[in-house]
């Protein structure tokens, strides 16, 4: 395909998709809107997570911690002052959050701040761990997620403890969530294609060789990790204003685990792969709710088993790692060229196959 066609085609398809989102917001019922929004939030978080795990090859287990930072930041910023007085009945909320709240027109500021707070958290974790070779990042980020849980439960005058914060205004419309989803895909895939991204991939393949080639390994790992944390924070903020409540248990390790399944099944290193599996996963998760519900098969009554879904998901992850390690897309990206090549392959006749065979032989 001609190079100059790609850009207009991409813009056109985004425009058509935007129309669909606008239609969906006004015509679909609340349940479908909720599932679609969740899918978009998964995209933001998974695409960012893939940047550090898939593109840079550094094993992080931190997204739940960063999403918690973002979620609580947005909750503190946008919760109306009157609601704050109701929610914080155990201990009053600390200054300055008790005296102001951002209006809806400044929602974007709240989201950006959520991303920045999470990115600062990322720098704090990344600085000691990413200088080192080995898997210290995994163990530090895993601990970070658990520690955020402990802190959120104990810092009652900020997070309201285990009760969490309720009554957050429902600002996350489909336009917001899908807007961020598309924005994150564009930013992360362009970053992955840039010279920075090539350096990150070099680090993934061989850290020592990359260093020998003059790549600043620490800087590029840090860049990937911070950008990843930023988008995770934004995803947390979107989630908070979608379900209108945040509590420590919302951001448990299960969140990271879901994202891990998404990026593994989509293909570690494939940004568009993660985006597609994120949507599939959001719907699959809804479908699998039936597994946990009580089932009536004629005379046989099977009681619902809570937690069965996570058993299925963890088996899925292990099996995918053992037998389907490249995932849906491997490291390829969904692009116009890829779509076109599929059509071309279908359309090719005897002649072209023969030509290809001949080329292979020569």
């Amino acid at each position: 395909m001609k190079r100059e066609w790609r850009m207009p085609l991409t813009i056109l398809s985004i425009a058509i998709f935007a129309l669909f989102i606008w239609w969906a917001q006004n015509h679909l019922n609340a349940y479908y809107i909720r599932v679609l929004s969740t899918a978009a939030i998964y995209i933001v978080a998974a695409v960012a997570y893939n940047l550090i795990n898939g593109v840079t090859g550094q094993f992080s287990l931190g997204p739940n911690g960063f999403m918690a930072l973002g979620g609580f930041t947005v909750a503190l910023l946008v919760l109306p002052v009157s609601q704050k007085q109701i929610v914080y009945f155990l201990q009053p909320l600390i200054w300055p959050f008790n005296s102001f709240s951002l209006p809806q027109s400044l929602f974007i500021v709240a989201l950006l701040l959520a991303g920045i707070v999470a990115a600062i958290g990322g720098i704090i974790i990344g600085f000691p761990t990413l200088r080192l070779k080995g898997d210290y990042l995994a163990i530090a980020t895993f601990g970070f997620g658990e520690i955020i849980f402990v802190l959120a439960n104990n810092l009652i005058s900020i997070t309201n403890g285990a009760l969490g914060i309720k009554g957050i205004p429902e600002y996350s419309t489909l336009m917001w969530t899908w807007g961020w989803a598309i924005f994150s895909i564009i930013v992360v895939s362009n970053l992955a294609k840039s010279s920075y991204g090539r350096a990150m991939k070099a680090i993934r393949e061989d850290e020592i060789a990359a260093e020998a080639m003059g790549i600043n390994v620490f800087f590029h790992k840090m860049l990937a990790f911070t950008v990843s944390a930023f988008f995770a924070g934004v995803a947390g903020g979107l989630l908070a204003t979608l379900i209108t409540t945040v509590s420590p248990s919302l951001f448990m390790f299960t969140m990271t685990f879901n994202l891990l399944i998404i990026i593994v099944l989509g293909g570690l290193g494939s940004i568009t792969g993660s985006a597609i599996t994120a949507v599939l996963f959001a719907f699959l998760q809804e479908l699998l709710r039936t597994v946990e519900a009580p089932i009536q098969l004629g005379p046989i009554h099977l009681p619902g088993v809570a937690g069965m879904r996570m058993v299925v998901f963890s088996l899925l992850l292990i099996l995918a790692m053992l037998f389907y390690r490249r995932g849906l897309f491997g490291r390829k990206e969904l692009s116009w060229d890829l779509i076109l090549s599929i059509f071309e392959r279908k359309g090719e006749g005897v002649g072209t196959t023969w030509k290809k065979e001949k080329m292979k032989l020569s």
Binding site: T129, K133, I147, L260, G307, V311
Partner: protein, 297 residues
């Protein structure tokens, strides 16, 4: 704080620390050989306590026999995890094995919730563990005395195995240079399998004693002890068994002392371990006893 209660807290810290040490050894041995963080290790620790629980409660076996059987069963589980989940990925990129390890850990936790039930169970601790002794004015529970004693015995057995037997020699050789050891005709898979067995057995022993100390068991009980034990392994110098022991004791004593001296901070005792980890990674990433790992190109 008077001297009696200080000694009491110190013994408490040593007993908690020796449990962390027992778990940390499993992490450090596997990491030393495979460079793999075995995330499922904390869940083997959990399974060990459940094995003992069911053997005592349902099969009505005497206490010492249940504990021994539970440890043996956990060793088999550890070997199985390696055989099923890690061995097929030996030649795959390292991140694959790590992801699988997280998957196995999550599987054991959630299968535990489904099969064993999420509600905590009361662990039947034997009399000698719950008995309170009076040592010169300091009241000390049996747990604080017996846990360190049993741990030291287990450690002596471990050191004997590692430094005096053929399989121990093979383990040390594999940890030093895997390829050369393979060329010498050592069956790598067998050595790794034994490593998992020993690590899991120690974790199960730790788990059973943990349940004697905190007699509420649930399927998620392995997460925090497991993570703290890994931190202990890093603090002591990852890959070094003596280091893991020292690291475990350090973390255990600090944790108990924080709760004892600053009761207001007791809610943050888990967060404090995290601070220790970050400080060590910043200042001395090789740990107390660790030497710099040679990077192979």
């Amino acid at each position: 704080m008077d001297i009696q209660s200080f000694i009491q807290q110190l013994l408490n810290g040593i007993s908690l620390g020796s449990l962390y040490a027992l778990i940390a050894i499993g992490y450090t041995m596997v990491y030393g050989i495979l460079r793999l963080i075995n995330f499922a290790h904390g869940d083997v620790f959990m399974l060990g306590t459940y094995f003992a629980f069911y053997l005592v409660m349902i099969f009505m076996l005497p206490w010492w026999l249940s504990a021994t059987l539970a440890i043996a069963l956990s060793a088999i589980v550890g070997m199985l995890i390696d055989r099923v989940a890690y061995r097929p990925l030996r030649s795959a990129p390292r991140i694959s094995a790590l992801i699988t390890a997280v998957g196995v850990s999550f599987f054991l936790e959630n299968a535990g919730i489904v099969v064993l039930g999420a509600r905590p169970k009361g662990f039947p601790r034997p009399e000698f563990m719950s008995h309170t002794y009076n040592l010169g004015g300091a009241y000390i529970t049996g747990v604080s005395i017996w846990v360190p004693v049993i741990s030291v015995i287990l450690l002596l057995v471990l050191f004997y195995v590692i430094y005096r037997t053929k399989i121990g020699m093979a383990m040390r050789a594999v940890a030093t240079d895997m390829e050369t050891t393979r060329l010498m005709g050592v069956d790598l898979d067998r050595v790794i399998s034994y490593t998992f067995a020993i690590g899991s057995a120690l974790a199960a022993a730790g788990g059973i004693m943990w349940a004697c100390k905190y007699p509420q068991i649930n399927p998620l009980m392995g997460i925090f002890p497991g993570w703290k034990a890994f931190t202990a392994a890093v603090v002591g110098g990852i890959g070094n068994i003596l280091g893991a022991t020292i690291g475990g004791l350090v973390i255990g004593i600090i944790e108990i002392m924080i709760v004892a001296f600053f009761p207001a901070l007791s809610g943050y005792k888990d967060a404090f371990v995290f601070v220790i980890l970050i400080i060590f990674l910043l200042v001395k990433p090789t740990g107390i006893l660790g030497e710099t790992l040679k990077e192979k190109v």
